[in-house]
């Protein structure tokens, strides 16, 4: 506010206030830093500064063996490790033309959708917390705990699962796991009602989200948005439908769409996706075929020379992997991730302009970014 040299000039100077939101700020979801230029409480300009969580996953991958990279993908979107695993493994399978058994495909769908619910629960909790509704946060974590338990039973880990192998899955389902998953689906449906009672019809929640950060479909596409932020603007784009992977072509589900493209629509889209995910899990559980869980994979994974891009629908949006193999070395020649969080975060300065500080945190929450994926 004060300039370094003493000035006794104009008495009524109203400068813009430049303020650092983050990297240590309670609602920047990790280490995001947003430099805000404020006029009073109004945001004139926002500058997103990233890189505080950069670990060089892409470069690291170029010196790791193909199988080891699965482990690194866990650390991309660390609240949604399973979908990152699926994305990477399928990319390599595409490059090597490995046929994945149907049972493995079904299990991938189930794990992906469980992961989607877990990731959306974390989003719901933090988003609500950012707008001051702290009880929803703990409710969401209570249910997320159940999913973490399921994952723990399946692969032993609760956060970084390493739950996929190139060509299939590391192990089959534990006994009676399927019953627990269905039980979880039943519980989850009831709890969804509970969240909606607390938020969806709440006047304050509506006032805080409706008309905040409106973005239309064309602009959303131009900014490279994907996932719920894009669908919230009414664009029907879902990799699971458009370019089905795993066993999604055999599943029946709807793609929820928003109309206004504001924070509330993005919220509604994700709330609908909870229900669609439960629907998919139920179908997959019912139709799960018998058979092997690992395809015919050579002992030494060494894809032929070439390049490949493959994308999946992660909870945050379109998660793509671009891999170049030179066909000689034991690791990728070039490894590049197209992270949905990074691309969605691009929209933040555009969205917050003209809104108030309180909306900035609501909008960061509504974009649902994970910094592990943004910085990589």
């Amino acid at each position: 506010m004060s300039s370094p040299t003493p000035q006794y000039g104009p008495m009524f100077d109203t400068d813009e206030l430049v303020i650092n939101m983050g990297p240590q700020h309670p609602s920047t979801h990790g280490v995001l830093r947003v430099v805000l230029r404020l006029d009073g409480e109004k945001v004139v300009d926002a500058d997103v500064v990233i890189g505080y969580l950069h670990r060089g996953v892409e470069k690291l991958s170029e010196s790791r063996s193909w199988a080891q990279i699965v482990l690194l993908t866990d650390r991309l979107d660390y609240v949604s490790a399973a979908t990152s695993n699926v994305g990477y493994c399928e990319t390599v399978e595409k490059l090597m033309a490995i046929e994945v058994p149907r049972r493995a495909k079904y299990l991938r769908v189930i794990l992906s959708e469980l992961q989607r619910i877990a990731s959306h629960l974390l989003w719901l909790g933090t988003h609500a917390m950012d707008t001051g509704a702290m009880t929803v946060f703990l409710y969401a974590f209570r249910e997320r705990e159940l999913i973490l338990d399921l994952f723990e039973e399946y692969c032993g880990a609760r956060l970084t699962y390493n739950s996929m192998r190139i060509g299939g899955l590391p192990q089959d389902l534990p006994p009676s796991w399927d019953r627990k998953v269905l039980e979880f689906c039943r519980i989850m449906e009831g709890k969804l009602e509970e969240y909606e009672t607390l938020l969806t019809g709440n006047r304050i929640w509506l006032e805080r989200t409706k008309g905040v950060g409106v973005i239309d479909g064309a602009e959303a596409l131009a900014l490279g948005l994907s996932g719920p932020p894009l669908r919230g603007s009414g664009v029907r784009r879902d990799v699971r439908k458009d370019e089905p992977y795993a066993a999604y072509d055999e599943m029946e589900f709807d793609v929820p769409l928003g109309v206004a493209g504001d924070t509330f629509d993005r919220y509604v889209v994700r709330m609908q996706e909870f229900r669609q995910s439960i629907r998919i899990i139920r179908q997959a559980m019912q139709g799960i075929p018998e058979g092997p869980i690992l395809g015919k994979v050579p002992r030494l994974i060494k894809p032929p020379a070439g390049e490949v891009y493959h994308a999946i629908e992660s909870p945050k949006g379109e998660l793509g992997f671009f891999i170049v193999s030179d066909g000689k070395s034991m690791s990728p020649y070039r490894f590049r991730v197209r992270p949905p969080s990074f691309c969605n975060l691009q929209a933040l300065p555009r969205l917050v302009k003209g809104h108030l500080i309180a909306d900035v945190v609501a909008l960061i929450g509504s974009l649902d970014v994970v910094l592990g994926e943004v910085d990589r």
Binding site: S27, G132, T135, E207
Partner: protein
């Protein structure tokens, strides 16, 4: 001498200590109730069911390093927490906790004093509390607290108007500004003012939430937006003073609401004969019980609702609550004149 000095002094000591104890346990109550609302247990480690948690908290806050930021305005930085704590405690001077009791052969009234402008005293003293917040924000020499203090002062001044207008409606009903007088007039009219002034009651409650910076109006300390609000730079005992002042204010608002709208120390249905067995419970118990209901409501609201945005808060205050309060006041005056 005993009447003039000793008894008031003893009363002050008792009220201050009871208040501070109440405030610390209010913190525990809040943590417990919110925990139960969120399917947690809350503090469980210090003492059985965490009942000694406030003691541990107090120890921690007192032993903690009390940091003054390097370029802070030192005197004002120290003055601010005092300025927010003192008014919060001074208000208790006029709050009637009960009627009269017999102790050691003396008739002792359960309030420190009953001045003829009691209600005005409450309003004016609490209005000074806003300085604590503004000066804290200014003296910290930090941007987040400054923003918070600007929010706070705008919020407190706006909602003070709505609250004061509702108080005027109550004064119209009672015909006196004395807190004791308001309770006795409820007794003589045979009804709690919450029933004949429901609009004023609701506006008072909403305004009370805003005046004490409680959810959903906790913008001045919105952790998720302003990192810590006006007390971001505070630590140790000076932070504790802000914290205690906030809870002391909540208890003040609850007590005033009880006195004004729920008949203070009166038992429910004070004029219904066959309920006279309720009179077995002493008045001050009724007072505490009613205040407790308010405290619980405060906590409950916090556990349930999201936070308003600054502009929405202002709109609610100026465009809804103040016009409503004015309309209610005019209506009350008309009805009062028509009935007289």
């Amino acid at each position: 001498m005993v009447e003039l000095v000793l008894i008031p002094l003893l009363k002050i000591i008792v009220v201050l200590n009871a208040t501070l104890l109440g405030v610390t346990y209010m913190v525990l109550l809040e943590r417990k109730v919110i925990a139960w609302a969120q399917s947690r247990l809350g503090p469980m480690r210090v003492g059985p069911y965490g009942v000694l948690q406030p003691v541990a908290d107090a120890m921690k806050l007192m032993l903690k390093e009390d940091i003054t930021p390097a370029r802070a305005d030192k005197w004002v930085f120290t003055l601010a927490p005092i300025l927010s704590m003192v008014p919060a405690l001074v208000v208790y001077a006029v709050i009637p906790f009960g009627d009269q009791v017999h102790l050691f052969g003396r008739q002792i009234s359960l309030y420190i004093t009953d001045i003829n402008v009691g209600l005005l005293y409450v309003v004016s003293v609490t209005s000074v509390g806003v300085y604590g917040i503004i000066l804290a924000g200014y003296s910290s020499n930090s941007k987040w607290p400054l923003l918070a203090s600007l929010r706070a002062s705008a919020q407190l001044i706006s909602y003070e108007i709505a609250i004061t207008l509702t108080l005027v409606s109550v004064v119209l009903m009672s015909g006196t500004l004395s807190m004791v007088g308001i309770v006795t007039s409820q007794a003589s009219q045979g009804v709690w003012y919450a029933f004949i002034q429901p609009t004023a009651f609701i506006i008072f409650f909403i305004g009370g939430l805003a005046e004490t910076n409680r959810a959903p109006f906790d913008l001045p300390e919105a952790e998720q937006e302003l990192t810590g609000g006006f007390h971001t730079e505070y630590s140790g005992m000076r932070f504790a003073l802000f914290f205690l002042a906030e809870y002391a204010n909540i208890i003040v608002v609850s007590s005033v609401a009880t006195t004004l709208f729920l008949g203070g120390w009166l038992r429910p249905f004070p004029n219904v004969e066959f309920l006279s067995f309720l009179g077995v419970v002493p008045g001050w118990c009724w007072f505490l019980l009613k205040s407790f209901v308010f405290l619980y409501l405060f906590i409950w609201v916090r556990a349930t609702l999201p936070r308003y945005r600054y502009d929405q808060l202002m709109r609610l205050g100026w465009k809804v609550l103040i016009p409503l309060a004015i309309a209610n006041l005019i209506l009350t005056a008309i009805v009062k004149v028509a009935l007289a």
